[in-house]
């Protein structure tokens, strides 16, 4: 009867044992279906087994040796490729977006592919004409041949709105028609995917293309959003697509997540030109399982991506972000107080934003508004454009505004925000502290207006169905707040320079308070309040400024903002969106604090039957009926119905495959054949030949007893990445706890609706 033993089709090699012989068949179509969680333990074990197999084969021939070397190298090779491609794509997005943004205002007729700054690159005009030069032609010049005046203003206003509507409509339509998954920031979903969830197509080719094109369009539309969050999604798509070149990663979902972690780091690395910040972001915010090996790979990947983007030099400033500023001035100790104040304000604004945005998203989800995604995008764009144009600070690109707010007032800045009554007679000194001119006060009012507009518009924008990120708007809000506080401090120091607070450092005429630094700290505070990041945030900001000495102010602000934010509302924006969508994300930051036991949570409850398979007494028909009647992902195998002693666990998918395969390939197998999960061939059977399925049986399932506290069980699910665990009592099988049960239980205990979890 041994000839009927279930043999796997292609690889009948003796080295491959157990479920591993499945590889070939399993891999052809992925082992997990859409919206399932992966079994980390099993996947990692499978990878180790594959690795041992390759090691063993290595002695056989040179070819096997090369294969082994390639396998060992493939991780690094894959992240190298991911870094290269991410850098290039980021360069394309940066250049495309900056060109298209300026298309709202005018065009460079001699070289249409240049944006305004690049167009005026080598103009020899020696005057400042509101940042314009003769090469750059605004739409009003083309239509009414006037740069100033009422008619020109109207034309410019019209074109601004027209282009904004055009770009955003195109983005929304592309998203709707080609890749609906490309909308939003993507970070909550990436977080969920990295925690071991499968969303098919979320990291696919079309998502990559549409997200890249869509983010160019939506940033250019002047909406209150940024391209930094989507960059993480784009990088993850690249990681996912490239991992298919390396079977070690492409075919093993747990291993693939290592590449995705590295890709997420590369995404932030190119978004901010901050490679170390990217690695820490991946570690702190998105990744779930992050061993040291992944840390090094992420580091390498982020480095390569940053290097590539830097050599593309998209902004012509030798850096990979538009708002890179260089600071070197010291700060004085007293300034810590305003910095902490900024942190507190950042926490408040962040929480306010999260609450309002979640409320609006809930409203969109439950009301009729959600049925008109394109119309919503149109309306939001229209309102944004109409409000944004009259105020120069909202009219300009948000990145440029951030740059303006971050930078110090030097001789090169002609903006009203730098309108100080400087005393130029004393020329040998550096730029000294000075009284603010009327331009500064006007700028402050405009900035306050801009901040209110941005805050409100961002609340409505984050969540519309175009690619949209959150970093830039939050940085912008914080930068405005910080700059205003900074100017106030500066004027205080100017007016009370004899006061003991300032007297030590602010000696006569020295520019001791820099509003730009306050803008930076404020930006960090609001971003920290919204996302609840700390370490990665500080490192990103510090890499943006290239000044180590501002780490303490940034840390103080980030910490204050996190404390205040956590006190006001528990979740950061990404966690809040995960909860809103009901993604099955078991947060490793939360603690489970209830005293329930495993026996209370397990399925089935006390008096319901448990769907089990007996080890040697069920026929193929029985099992097929069981498969049809129940929808579990796996079935425990027990000794017999009477003695429910646990033997092992078999997955539904394996069973299906094995049964189908057996029916196809072996004669003498009929519905009446027994299915045997044991070794012994002692079963005396007169009927058709039995089918031996021991190889697909997992003989070492994770079990807990029914008295295990749920704290431990939740911890096991988090730390081991389990998919299910079996509950026993005195060695007898009582039931099963799946990840879904755990998530439901956690929700129930937190008094939330447990039915909202998105899960198959």
């Amino acid at each position: 009867m041994d000839e009927n033993e279930f043999k796997m089709s292609s690889s009948s090699s003796q080295d491959f044992t157990g479920a591993d012989a499945f590889e070939e068949d399993w891999y052809q179509n992925s082992p997990y279906s859409d919206f399932y969680t992966i079994d980390w333990l099993k996947d990692l074990a499978r990878d180790r087994m594959r690795h041992r197999y390759i090691l063993k084969r290595r002695q056989n021939s040179l070819w096997e040796l090369i294969k082994g070397a390639h396998d060992a190298l493939s991780g690094w090779l894959c992240v190298l490729l991911v870094g290269l491609v991410t850098g290039c794509v980021a360069g394309v997005i940066d250049i495309g977006a900056s060109w298209m943004t300026d298309l709202k205002f005018g065009i460079c007729p001699q070289a249409f592919w240049l944006n305004r700054e690049q167009c005026c690159w080598s103009s020899n005009e020696t005057t400042f004409d509101a940042g314009n030069c003769s090469q750059w032609v605004t739409w009003s010049e083309i239509l009414v041949s006037a740069k100033e005046g009422f008619g020109a203003y109207i034309v410019m206003y019209f074109f601004y709105i027209f282009w904004a509507l055009f770009f955003s409509t195109l983005a929304a339509l592309l998203v709707k028609n080609f890749a609906p998954y490309a909308c939003g920031s993507g970070i909550p979903e990436i977080k969920t995917i990295l925690s071991g969830f499968i969303i098919r197509g979320y990291l696919g080719k079309w998502t990559l293309i549409i997200k890249s094109v869509g983010i160019i369009l939506s940033v250019s539309a002047g909406l209150s959003l940024g391209k930094e969050g989507p960059m993480v999604h784009i990088a993850s798509c690249i990681g996912n697509i490239l991992s298919y070149l390396f079977p070690k990663y492409g075919r093993n979902e747990a291993k693939k997540r290592e590449i995705l972690s590295a890709a997420a780091a590369a995404g932030v690395s190119v978004a901010f030109g901050a490679p170390i910040g990217g690695v820490l972001f991946s570690l702190e915010e998105v990744s779930y399982y992050f061993p040291l090996k992944t840390l090094w790979r992420s580091f390498f990947c982020a480095l390569i991506a940053a290097f590539i983007l830097r050599s593309i030099n998209p902004f012509g400033n030798e850096h990979s972000v538009l708002f890179f500023v260089e600071y070197s001035k010291p700060w004085i100790f007293v300034e810590l107080l305003p910095f902490i104040f900024l942190g507190v304000m950042g926490g408040c604004i962040g929480t306010l934003f999260i609450k309002a945005n979640i409320y609006w998203c809930k409203f969109r989800k439950c009301s009729k508004l959600g049925q008109y995604p394109v119309a919503e995008v149109l309306i939001v764009t229209l309102i944004t454009a109409v409000i944004a144009f009259p105020n120069p600070y909202t009219r300009m690109n948000t990145s440029e505004l951030i740059y303006l707010l971050f930078s110090q007032c030097g001789i090169s800045s002609g903006d009203p925000i730098c309108d100080y009554k400087r005393n130029f007679t004393n020329v040998n000194q550096a730029i000294e502290i000075a009284a603010a001119g009327p331009g500064v006060y006007k700028a402050i009012w405009l900035l306050i207006l801009a901040m209110i507009v941005k805050l409100i518009m961002t609340i409505f924008t984050f969540g519309i169905k175009v690619p949209c990120g959150l970093f830039i708007p939050s940085l912008c809000l914080g930068a405005i707040m910080g700059r205003i506080v900074g100017i106030c401090m500066e004027q205080l120091a100017y007016n009370y320079s004899k006061n003991w607070i300032f007297s030590g450092e602010c000696t006569q005429g020295d520019d001791c308070i820099q509003p730009g630094l306050y803008a930076m700290v404020g930006a960090a505070a609001v971003l920290g309040g919204v996302t609840r990041m700390t370490v990665s945030l500080v490192v990103i900001m510090f890499e943006l400024t290239g000044g180590v000495r501002y780490i303490v102010p940034l840390m103080a602000a980030a910490m204050a903002s996190k404390w205040v934010g956590d006190a006001l509302g528990r979740q950061g924006i990404y966690d809040a969106h995960i909860a809103l969508n009901g993604y099955p994300f078991l947060d490793s930051k939360d603690e489970f604090q209830h005293t329930t036991l495993a026996g209370d949570v397990m399925q089935p409850k006390r008096n319901e039957g448990l769907a089990v398979i007996t080890q040697d007494s069920m026929t193929i028909d029985d099992i097929e009926v069981l498969l049809k009647d129940t929808e579990h992902n796996g079935y425990p195998v027990v000794v017999s119905r009477e003695n429910q002693y646990l033997v092992g666990f078999v997955l539904r998918r394996d069973l299906n495959l094995a049964l189908a395969n057996a029916k196809r390939n072996f004669d003498g197998i009929s519905g009446q054949s027994l299915v045997i999960f044991t070794n012994s061939s002692s079963v005396q059977n007169l009927g058709p030949a039995p089918l031996k399925l021991k190889k697909i049986l997992d003989m070492a399932p994770i079990t807990v007893t029914d008295q295990t506290p749920m704290e431990t069980v939740v911890d096991m699910f988090r730390k081991l990445g389990l998919r299910q665990t079996l509950v026993t009592h005195n060695g007898r099988l009582l039931g099963v706890i799946t990840k879904k049960d755990v998530l439901r239980h956690v929700k129930q205990m937190d008094n939330e609706d447990p039915t909202t979890i998105l899960f198959n």
Binding site: I95, W99, F112, Q118, W121, N313, I411, N428
Partner: protein
């Protein structure tokens, strides 16, 4: 299409003739009045902006500003120059050009394909449905899960079988993709179970 490409190329060549250097040294200085002790109110437009084609090491006030304004400043160089800000910048116009043209191409291709899918294809489908009656029962792609159902029903009378196969495979892939997008759309826009 080819003609259009040619025109674009021509434009590109013409524009190349213009002087767009990839390196510059940009210096900004306050107005000269500020050091000449003139009591005039200095205003923004009096500031000096010089863009020169200097090497990175020679991008400073001494070698960029002074030769031009030496006669006006006269003796005040030591006071004037520290106030100037000189920045050396470089860029690559070719990369910018290529990238922007690629972006335009991608966006126009996607838009055309989108228009095709939304406007032309329903028309074509209607016509082919009239031709092949057997297609009528499966016009709703979303509900059908046995992929390639339509391909088996296609009359295989065509002599050029291999070509037909390739075509079928492409059509199958496209149908599969369309179904996936349809599913995503339902999940996001109709059921709101994701990405809210």
């Amino acid at each position: 299409m080819f003609r259009y490409l040619l025109i674009v190329n021509l434009l590109v060549c013409m524009a190349n003739a213009q002087s767009y250097e990839d390196k510059r040294c940009k210096c900004i200085c306050p107005s000269i009045n500020s050091v000449m002790n003139n009591s005039q109110e200095d205003n923004d437009n009096d500031r000096i902006l010089v863009i020169a084609n200097a090497a990175q090491t020679r991008c400073d006030c001494d070698s960029v500003i002074l030769p031009k304004y030496a006669d006006k400043i006269k003796g005040k160089e030591q006071e004037f120059c520290p106030r100037c800000e000189c920045k050396y910048e470089n860029r690559n116009t070719t990369v910018i050009k290529v990238v922007v043209i690629i972006v335009i191409w991608i966006i126009s291709l996607l838009s055309i394909y989108m228009l095709f899918l939304n406007l032309l294809e329903p028309l074509l489908n209607k016509r082919s449905k009239q031709n092949y009656q057997e297609h009528l029962d499966e016009d709703d792609g979303a509900s059908i899960h046995q992929e390639g159902g339509s391909s088996h029903n296609l009359p295989m009378v065509n002599v050029n079988v291999s070509r037909n196969n390739v075509l079928n495979r492409v059509t199958n892939q496209q149908d599969k993709w369309k179904r996936q997008v349809q599913e995503q759309r339902q999940r996001i826009y109709d059921r709101h179970s994701m990405l809210n």
